[in-house]
């Protein structure tokens, strides 16, 4: 199998180590669960090989991009908070892959992955993390506040839960204007106890709004495990309280399963204006943010979860189904690595915003004296 997935930072130094790692990998490989074969076949027919490979490439790009972002943070080029998405790539790609151009995406603060999956320019996303004027939000948003209206990408929210009512409003507008578009709204498991979640679901269901609420259940909100903050840990069941469809994707590291669930939910939104709550179980490999050593979980747990790596499994599926050879996939990986490095170069070279930008965009540029 092509070794595409493991973190680049963990590459072994010596030949002996490399050999040891290879062996370790081979024995581990046996334990890697396969992607859903039946769904894979179905999606291959529905989407075509090329689209599946595109989706794969985007997932690899997200991972490589995040690795570069992590490094840039350590070098002080990215400041503030930086929440990496490594491990959750199948969620972003599986869900956004099921969207159409006219649909909307609203995300929280861990949104680099969703932004790239939605097709935002990696250069512009990296430049935003660097605080540069060529960033998607002209350097004034930063890691937590990525916006690109051309791509109907609204998000980046630093306030937990703040995005949920707003996403509901985006869906409201889509219905109001008969757009037959749906709004995907991402949140973490830690967000579910918040009032904004419950208020929003109630309105969306009462008023038939085309919104898909996605709980990316990576089991922790900062250092707090799900069962310590939620009486009901099957979070998709909260849908019952609001008379809406609730769906669980238990294996959120399987991009096909995510795609399938969101495709159905998105159609329900577009065709029937009905909301759906989808809980997707996944895992984040890194700490909550760059400053979190994540000591609240064991090494064994992290390793166990990494065996279900969404990219490694996709890699294997592509090879076994002969869509690509190992070598071809290595090429894709090399291309993504280079793309991520190029983004860093671009961001490095870009300028900081001019001083005059400080007071721009507080209000629309509008004369105070209206005649």
């Amino acid at each position: 199998m092509a070794k595409t997935a493991p973190d680049e930072d963990k590459q072994p130094e010596t030949a002996a180590e490399e050999e040891a790692e290879k062996q370790a990998h081979e024995s581990e490989e046996l334990e890697i669960p396969a992607l859903d074969a039946e769904l894979g076949e179905k999606l291959r027919e529905e989407l075509g090989d090329e689209r599946l490979i595109e989706m794969y490439e985007t997932m690899v790009l997200i991972r490589r991009f995040e690795e570069q972002a992590g490094r840039a943070y350590q070098m002080g080029k990215i400041k503030g908070f930086c929440h990496l998405y490594i491990g959750q790539e199948a969620v972003a790609m599986g869900s956004i892959g099921a969207l159409e151009e006219r649909d909307y995406v609203v995300a929280a603060y861990r949104e680099h992955g969703q932004a790239l999956a939605r097709g935002l320019d990696p250069d512009a996303v990296m430049a935003e993390l660097f605080g540069k004027v060529d960033g998607v939000s002209k350097g004034k948003g930063g890691s937590m506040h990525l916006f690109d209206t051309d791509k109907n990408f609204y998000g980046g929210w630093g306030i937990v839960g703040g995005q949920i009512p707003t996403a509901t409003g985006v869906a409201f507008a889509a219905k109001y204007r008969d757009e037959e578009a749906v709004c995907l709204c991402y949140m973490g498991d830690g967000t579910v106890p918040q009032g904004a979640f419950h208020e929003s679901l109630n309105m969306a269901s009462t008023w038939d709004l085309p919104v898909v609420y996605i709980i990316e259940n990576n089991r922790y909100g900062m250092g707090t495990a799900v069962e310590r903050i939620s009486a009901e840990t099957d979070m998709f069941k909260k849908a019952d309280g609001y008379a809406m469809e609730g769906v669980l994707v238990e294996d959120g590291q399987d991009v096909f399963k995510v795609y399938d669930a969101i495709k159905t939910a998105a159609e329900r939104g577009r065709k029937e204006n009905r909301p759906t709550l989808v809980e997707i179980r996944t895992y984040r490999y890194r700490g909550h943010s760059m400053s979190d050593p994540a000591t609240y979980r064991t090494k064994e747990e992290v390793e166990r979860e990494q065996r279900k790596d969404p990219i490694q499994r996709f890699t294997r599926w592509l090879v076994e189904n002969e869509l690509k050879t190992e070598d071809e996939l290595k090429e894709i990986d090399a291309r993504c690595k280079q793309r991520a490095k190029d983004a860093v170069k671009f961001a490095d070279k870009a300028d900081f915003p001019p001083a005059s930008a400080l007071t721009e965009d507080v209000y629309v540029d509008w004369p105070w004296e209206i005649e």
Binding site: K79, G80, F81, E128, G131, K132, V133, S137, G139, K140, G141, G142, S143, M144, H145, W157, G158, I159, V160, G161, G162, G190, T191, P193, Q194, G195, G221, M222, G223, T224, R228, I229, S230, Y296, F352, P353, A355, A357, L358, T359, V362
Partner: protein
């Protein structure tokens, strides 16, 4: 005297008060098992157990309200807001319930709750995470608002806040948590509403609180090199604020400049300036000066963040203007 960090001083204040009074308990996000997002509650779970040091869901309105309810019937909760940016979600409970419980129950009830956590700007956290929102609280009758600038003050003031029979909003400086300072081993408290002179001077009074006290002290040192002798007054408590101390200082210097980290319009600085202009009009040799954040949301870009926050340069300029030497 021994030296400890601002965050340790706060920790000691809570620990001592919890040891002293069974009714005091701490709740908030990540305060227990994680030892606090800013490590202010380090070790407290081990000391007091999960009954008194409680991790909450990310539900600010809910857990602040829970604390307020517990306070109404006699407990003394310390509600930690990870930062005051998130405390905005709890404003309904704080303003509509805690602040007026004594008043609207005709004095039958009170809410001896402390809502505390990090406030202030900096560190390139962007518009939703980098704000000085003290004016929201200082505006509301029924609330007391404290903002310590040093480890010494932090400990003495927090102990007072916890013992206070009314709701106290206690805003810590996010950038100050690592600041070291002298803190005595023996027990002491700092009375509510008492300001402090952090540097004596004769030519102009700089009025500040929290992190801006340090900016003012730096500016004062530089101004001293130029022969301008500045007094730095730390308000420490924004509501009530120390009118006597301000009167004394301004009668001596005849000039005042207020330095705040927050926005200028309808702000604490604006209110203090208004009070000085009325109460001490005859003593002023110049209009009351003001230094503050630029009137914009905080930009993420590192260069713009600096350009938005008040620094020593602006303070020096304002003092010179007040002293007519600019």
């Amino acid at each position: 005297m021994r030296t400890i960090a601002y965050r340790e001083a706060l920790n000691e204040a809570m620990v001592e008060e919890m040891e002293r009074d069974e009714d005091v308990f701490l709740l908030g996000e990540e305060v227990a098992e994680y030892n606090g997002a800013y490590k202010v509650s380090q070790g407290m779970l081990d000391k007091f157990g999960p009954k008194r040091v409680i991790d909450t869901p990310i539900a600010e309105l809910g857990f602040a309200g829970l604390g307020i309810g517990a306070a109404m019937v006699g407990l003394k909760p310390i509600v930690e807001m990870m930062t005051f940016n998130f405390a905005v979600l709890a404003l309904d409970q704080v303003i509509n319930t805690a602040a007026k419980m004594r008043y609207m129950s005709g004095g039958q009830l009170s809410c001896p709750v402390v809502v505390r956590g990090a406030g202030g700007a900096g560190g390139a956290l962007g518009a939703q995470h980098s704000q000085s929102l003290e004016a929201q609280y200082a505006h509301v009758p029924g609330l007391k608002v404290m903002m310590p600038s040093t480890p010494y003050d932090a400990k003495g003031m927090l102990k007072t806040a916890i013992r206070d029979p009314d709701p106290v909003i206690f805003i810590e400086g996010e950038i100050l948590y690592g600041l070291q300072g002298e803190v005595p081993e023996e027990e002491y408290t700092i009375p509510m509403g008492k300001g402090d002179i952090k540097r004596e001077g004769a030519d102009c009074t700089l009025i500040a609180w929290s992190r801006m006290v340090h900016v003012c002290k730096q500016a004062a040192d530089k101004l001293a090199d130029e022969g301008i002798d500045v007094e730095v007054v730390d308000l420490r408590s924004l509501r009530p604020f120390d009118k006597d101390l301000l009167r004394e200082s301004i009668k001596k210097t005849n000039r005042a400049v207020i330095v705040e980290e927050g926005w200028p319009w309808v702000s604490v600085g604006g209110a203090v300036a208004d009070w000085i202009a009325r109460d001490l009009f005859d003593w002023l040799d110049a209009p009351v000066g003001r230094v503050h954040q630029r009137d914009v949301p905080m930009p993420y870009a590192f260069n713009l963040e600096d350009a938005s926050l008040p620094g020593t340069e602006q303070v020096i300029e304002a003092v010179k203007k007040a002293a007519y030497v600019a």
